[in-house]
Amino acid sequence: MVMTSPLSASFLPLPLAVLLLGGGTLPLIGLLAEKTGLRRLRELWAIAFSALNLISIYLLYQELRASPGRVIVSSLLGSPPLAGCFEIDVLGVYMAGCVALLGFLAVVYSYRYMEEESRLTEFYTLVLLMMAGMTGVALAGDFFTLFVFWEMMGVSSYVLVAFLKYRWGPIEAGFKYLIMSATGSAFLLLSMSLIYGMSGTLNFAYLSASLRGVEPSPWLLLLLATLIVGFGVKSAIVPFHTWLPDAHPEAPGPISALLSGIVIETGLYALMRVTYLTFTPSVYRSVFAALAVITMTVANIMALLQNDLKRLLAYSSISQIGYMLIGLSTGTAYGLMGSLLHILNHSLMKGLAFLAAGNITHQTGMRDIEKLRGVGRMMPYTMLCLSISLLGLGGVPATNGFISKFILFSSAIGAGMPILAVAGVLNSALSMAYYLRVIKNFISTPEGEFEAEEAPILMVAVNILMALLIILLGLWPQPAIRYADAASKMLVEGLGRYVQAVVGR
């Protein structure tokens, strides 16, 4: 059923409008704050807008739930396929919801973490614009609209990585990230031109109606290859992942959490959307399965060798993307549900891990695991939250990581690829090795080389909230599973409805 509604059909979908408004007015508010001396105005403005964003995502979801399988199409002037449009379905709202949740928590955290930095106006503007870009990617219905918001997300994140520009590390990491990610964007543009040449349109629904089910010719395989390169650079699939272990540690704490938690998952979501719309599963199953195994294995092996806490967490992010690729390669709704659930869980768990690591670096200024021996005894609340998140990442029962990994591996067996499940379980066991090493190092008796006290109350409170959410979703996963199930059905069984929403107008 297609209906245009007052909430989203006017100009832009409401969450996107809220974020763009906030990001656009923040420079003026920053100027005002400096002139009048109201010091905290910028932070409060950013927190207010991210909270408004969360509320509007909830309203949008309520509207979609009114009738199952409903798709809202909204465009500005003129109608698809010639015009850019937003096609809002449950999958888009799911991704936008993940963005909103982690973004709100990260902005509240950075109220205290970033208070001694300069250029705070630019920081909060770029965070809000990055969130707007990610929301736009999640809700886009036309390939070029996705590209514009993709660039918005990318440009903001390049400079947020290089934000602490008085040291060489962030600048080099930011430049390397820029070069590799912009190369990916160029390949993405190339794949868009190939799609345009073959089917004359760039709209997702028309594209699906034209190109799906065509037998693979060499040009279609070239299209698949450029799509994987284009989206894979941003979402850190293994041959293209080399920017990530440099960029994530050098970024400031809450930005690392945002990058690892939701930016790379947005790349994965875009890959998921476009390949499920354009190709039938027989074309891409083997490619994604091979990429999943390579990604998981290489990342876990590299993570065993790390001594830097944040770099270890960055390699762990790459391996979690490998787990999500398992779900992508099955081609069924069940596997896709596992991937989507893992996106939500990973954003919470990895976000918590990076924020707890941010606590530690804020108090001690060090990141080396060996030198930080015993820090857990000096900062008990932070250590508790860090342990919960690391155990969740390893897949211990009673955390939500266990549930999503269980769904992923059982879907791999059910889709006839037991090798993937075996590789996944072995990699899970391997990853527990380095997580337990971190926990053991931090809890052991301190050598007496440094002193640290507990982080400020606001930062600890955000950490505890996220840890509670992890355990809650682990013991009572039904709502999240239902949500992910409805979202995953839109790409496999509800594809016809998605296409009809635009083509049948």
Binding site: L20, S75, L76, R119, L129, V155, S210, L222
Partner: protein, 95 residues
Amino acid sequence: MRDDVKLYLASSILLLLSLLILIWLTAEYEFPLFTYAMEGMPRLLIPIRSFKEVSSAVGRFLWDWRMLDLLSQAFVILAAIICCIALLKPGGEER
């Protein structure tokens, strides 16, 4: 210098190989130009008869049908401006 020479050699071999593969692809298989386009899909075509008017016609198409992307692009330009300010503003001393 050995490292440099090795890098040049490896990258030139790789690139030459991919170039040969791509040229073989172009020569052997004809590009399926608009073959998969749906019937009855609305498309707007501009005749090249009046050569000078093509650019203004494309411009009119841009403003009539692609307004959403143009407005979003304005925000991307805003983001790039704020990025450059954040990078070039003198602030943040050594800690």
